[in-house]
Symmetry: C2
Subunit: 265 residues, 2 copies
Amino acid sequence: MTVLTSMQNQPLVAPNNSPMPDNIPGPSFRPLYDQIKILLTQSLIAGEWKPGEAIPSEMDLAARYQVSQGTVRKAIDALAGDNILIRRQGKGTFVATHTEPKHQYRFLRIIPDKGSKDKVHPTTNFIDVKRGKASAEVARALDLKVGAPVTALRRVLVFAGTPIILDEIVLSSVLFPNLTLEKISESRGSIYSFLETGYGLRMIRAEERLRAMAADAAAAAYLLVAEGTPLLCVDRIAFTYGDKPVEWRRGLCLTDGYSYYNELA
Amino acid sequence: MTVLTSMQNQPLVAPNNSPMPDNIPGPSFRPLYDQIKILLTQSLIAGEWKPGEAIPSEMDLAARYQVSQGTVRKAIDALAGDNILIRRQGKGTFVATHTEPKHQYRFLRIIPDKGSKDKVHPTTNFIDVKRGKASAEVARALDLKVGAPVTALRRVLVFAGTPIILDEIVLSSVLFPNLTLEKISESRGSIYSFLETGYGLRMIRAEERLRAMAADAAAAAYLLVAEGTPLLCVDRIAFTYGDKPVEWRRGLCLTDGYSYYNELA
DNA sequence: GAGTGGTCTAGACCACCCC
DNA sequence: GGGTGGTCTAGACCACTCT
C-alpha cells in the first residue's frame, strides 16, 4: 500500500500501523486528493473496476486510504469532471463507458445546421479493414516506429440517408490484434464501445485538428460529390489512461447541411 | 437582501434578523452554493466589481450572505471553472478580463501545425468599419430584428508574415455605438479587450460552427490565394453574462501550415 | 430502512503574498 | 505578521434508490 503524505494534522499511518517517517513535504507539494486521484486511476488501469461497474463507496475508499470522506470526494469529483467516473446519487460511482447510449458518440461534433443541437445518431457503412505499416504521420501520432504494423479501417457515416463523413481509422495491430471487418460489423454501436469491450481499452480524451481541403477522387466517390469539393478534414488522436495515444483517425466531412459544433469557454 | 433557503440546519435569517418563514424546500431544490453563485453573477452584471478588480474575500462574502466559507468557496469554484473569476492564492479572487496577456486570445483556436501547441500571437490589419442592417442570419444569431442597425468590422489576422484569417465581425450598433476604425486601431490588443474597456461588456463564452468552403473573390484577394481555394469557415456567436449573444463573427481561415485545434473530453 | 451520493458547517492548519 | 486562498477533517443532515 502506498503511503500518503498529508499537508498537515496528524501524520497518516500505513495500514500496518507503522508510524509515518519524518516526511519533509518535499520540493513539489501534492495535495492528498491528488494522490488519491492517482491511486484511483492506477486501479482503473489495472482493471480493478471495469467499465460500467461501480467503484467502492466514498466511505469505503476513505477507510481504505485512511483519509476523510471529503478528501476522497474531491478526488472522485476530479475524475468525474474528466468523464472517467460517473456519479449517480443514491446508487454509487461508476466507471464511465462508451457503451452507454448517452456516451455513444461522445466525441462526434458534427451536427445538423437546422433544428436543435441534439446529436443525430448516424448509421455506419463499413468499407474495409486492412493491415499495413505505420506512415510517418501515424507513427508520430501513435508513438510508434515508422513501418510498425497497423490496422486501418474505413467507413462512411450516413446522416438521414446522406453520406456525410468518410473515416479512416488507424490502430496499432499489436494493441488491437485480429481485428476483422466481420467482428466490427457485428458489434452494434460505436468503434470505441467495440474496442472497450473487445480489448479493454477505454478512450479518455482526444485531440483534433481541423483543416479545409479539396475532395480527392476516393473521397468524392464515397461522399457522392464532385472531385475538388471543399471538405472539412478532421484529424484526431485519441488517448487512453496515462495520456497514451492509441487511435489515429482522419475524417473527411461534407459540411453541407451539417457543421462541426464547438463550445468555447 | 435576498433571503437564501438552505437545505438543512437552522433556517438562515435575513440581515435584519427577522426569523425565516416556514419555507418548504419547494418543488425545485436549489443548493445554497448555487444561489450564491447567482447572487455573485448578479453583482458582476451590476458592475459591483469591474474586470480586473478583486472581489471581497471568502470570509467577507460568507459574512455577507450568512453562510459558511465552504459554501461561498463552492460558488466561487464554479465561477472560476467558467473562467468568470480567477483565484490567486495569497492575493484574492479577481474578475476575469480579456485584457490580461494570458487571456488575450482565449477563443482563438488556430495554431501552427509545426512546433509546440503554444499559441502564436498574430498581428491585425484592419480593413474597414461600416454601418449596416442585420441580415436574417445575424439577426437570428444576435436576437435582433432583421434590419436592425449593426456595425460590421473587417480585418485580416497575419501569422508570421502570412495573412491567414479574414474576419468579419458584426455587433449591434445600439449596444456598441460610435465604433470607428480609428478607435479600434488605436486600442492595442484584442477586440474583446477593446469592447470590455470601451463598453463594459465582457465576453463569457462562445459557440462556433465550422465548415469547409471555397474562397470567393474577396477572400482570395485578402488571403493572397486563388479563388476556389478551400477555406475553413468559422462562424462564432459570443455571449456575455446571462447567455446574451452580443457578437456574430465569420472567420475565413487558410489552413495551410495552420489548423484549428480542439480538445475533446 | 439501509446505503449511497450531495450539501452544509465549524474549525484547524498550510502555502502564498505583501507589507 | 496578517490577510488570502487551499487543504483536510469530523460530523450532521438531506435527497435519492433499491429492497
